[in-house]
């Protein structure tokens, strides 16, 4: 099947196994991810909106091979990141970073979906403000 598709038009090959082990440098991968990917996919790959209802998908649970192939081919509206732009080593580091944030607990407390101020603001308004209002009502109420 792959051979038949390859016979129709040239394209990037299936990535070598050594770049898919997620054992690169997650710090470097994180920096590259924030520069090249995070604006669409969110800083930890939690997905994000594009124009006119299109969106960049979540990267959690996506296989290493799939992530690598998406970078070299640019599916749908995703741009292409060829090997001159992000070397295979860079791609390996990006995959390492994504697997690292996927498999390690968030150090800053509950992630609430990692989607930033919307979820966090909603939580604070409902629970934080709710708690403060409840205390205020209790402070002002007379004892029976």
């Amino acid at each position: 099947m792959a051979a038949w598709v390859a016979s129709l038009a040239p394209g990037p090959a299936i990535p070598d196994e050594e770049y898919l082990r997620a054992d690169g440098n997650p710090t470097h991968g994180g920096e590259l991810f924030r520069i090249n990917c995070a604006m669409c996919h969110n800083a930890v790959g939690a997905a994000g909106a594009l124009t006119e209802g299109k969106w960049a998908p979540q990267l959690k649970g996506v296989s290493e091979k799939h992530i690598y192939e998406a970078m070299v081919t640019g599916p749908q509206n995703m741009p292409v990141f060829n090997d001159a732009n992000l070397t295979p080593e860079d791609k390996k580091d990006i995959i390492t970073y994504l697997k690292y944030v996927e498999n390690n607990p968030s150090v800053g407390g509950y992630e609430l979906g990692s989607i930033g101020p919307v979820a966090e603001g909603l939580f604070v308004w409902i629970f934080g403000m709710g708690f403060i209002i409840a205390i205020t009502v209790w402070l002002g109420a007379k004892s029976n």
Partner: protein, 340 residues
């Protein structure tokens, strides 16, 4: 003349046919703890339980500090440490607070006191007396009589704040023309962010996006670097040359379908980098301004008022992409003398 009509005459209140009656003071309700000795004992116990919870909270905080030590390099250890310290200290402080309030509400004396508001207007005698004092002071000082003194005093008071204007006018270096220029100049190579590796035109395949910084930016001091990067960041894209709708005057600003645009949104300066390969839409994530990359980054949606400035590019003898010049208009948000 009734009370209501008097208010109406002042012109500030609307006349009410059925003014709201003063509801008076609520009848005093005796608390359970005053009626029933058992309820008072329960309240006493509740207060002391809250104070005990406070003690337990303090112990939890100390326990958490030692049970989850902060280990260098292990961020989840820090998370556990701060979590238990925080929970313990919150219980400790809230226990004291809730206990004290419950104590005051249930067991401390329940007298209700009300005070009537006094009339704000001074008595006629006091007002006449105030006028007398002012007249006396005017007479004794000669403020009205001695014109020279009065006028020079007005002058002195008018001049007195001027030094402050001079000081506040010189709080720091003026912006000058720093908003109108970036690091880009003729021949500056386009390099990859963050590595600073120069980019060959042949490396930018169709559909590719490169995040670009000017050559030499990486070597600058940290503070200067951030300021320069905030103005000079560029998005480099190659599209099918047939897709570009180019203004004839700007035709040679691109190179074989490779275009470079400022990454700084002309609305409030967020990095615009959400590029869609097929629609050529460039979306700003902050306020959804959308630019048509194929049509000189014209604004097609959202609050941005100007197109993203284009960086004119070409290739040098070695095939590397270089700038033809700086941006020909200021990058980023508009400011009041942008066209000067």
């Amino acid at each position: 003349m009734s009370e209501i009509e008097k208010v109406y005459e002042s012109g500030l209140a609307t006349k009410a046919d059925r003014p709201i009656k003063d509801p008076g003071i609520e009848p005093h309700r005796i608390r359970m703890t005053d009626k029933d000795e058992r309820a008072a004992r329960n309240a006493e116990r509740a207060v002391s339980v809250m104070f005990l919870i406070s003690i337990v909270g303090a112990i939890i905080a100390v326990w958490g500090f030692f049970a989850f030590p902060i280990v260098d390099g292990d961020l989840s250890a820090t998370r556990n440490n701060t979590f238990w310290m925080g929970v313990g200290m919150a219980l400790s402080l809230l226990g004291i607070g809730f206990g004290a309030v419950h104590w005051a509400k249930t067991l401390m004396p329940d007298h209700e006191v009300s005070e009537e508001r006094h009339i704000a207007r001074s008595s006629d005698e006091a007002r006449a007396q105030a006028v007398e004092i002012i007249k006396l002071a005017d007479g004794e000082s000669g403020f009205t009589r001695r014109k020279l003194i009065r006028r020079t005093l007005y002058g002195a008071l008018a001049f007195f704040p001027i030094p402050a204007l001079v000081i506040f006018g010189d709080l720091g270096p003026t912006v000058g023309d720093t908003l109108k220029h970036t690091m880009w100049k003729k021949g500056t190579r386009l390099t990859k962010d963050p590595t600073g590796i120069p980019i060959k035109a042949s490396e930018v395949t169709i559909g590719s996006v490169f995040h670009v910084i000017p050559e030499g930016l990486k070597e600058l001091d940290h503070d200067i670097k951030l300021n320069e990067k905030a103005k000079a960041a560029v998005l480099l894209v190659r599209v099918n040359p047939g897709d570009l709708k180019e203004d004839p005057a700007k035709k040679d600003w691109s190179y074989d379908g490779i275009v470079a645009y400022s990454k700084i949104c002309t609305h409030v300066g967020c990095p615009v980098a959400l590029y869609e390969q097929h629609t050529h839409h460039l979306l700003c994530p902050c306020h959804q301004s959308t630019f048509d990359l194929a049509d000189h980054c014209k604004v097609i949606f959202g609050p941005a008022a100007r197109p993203l400035p284009q960086l004119p590019i070409t290739v040098d003898a070695e095939g590397y992409l270089v700038a033809q010049s700086d941006f020909l208009e200021p990058v980023g948000p508009s400011f009041w003398d942008i066209r000067k």
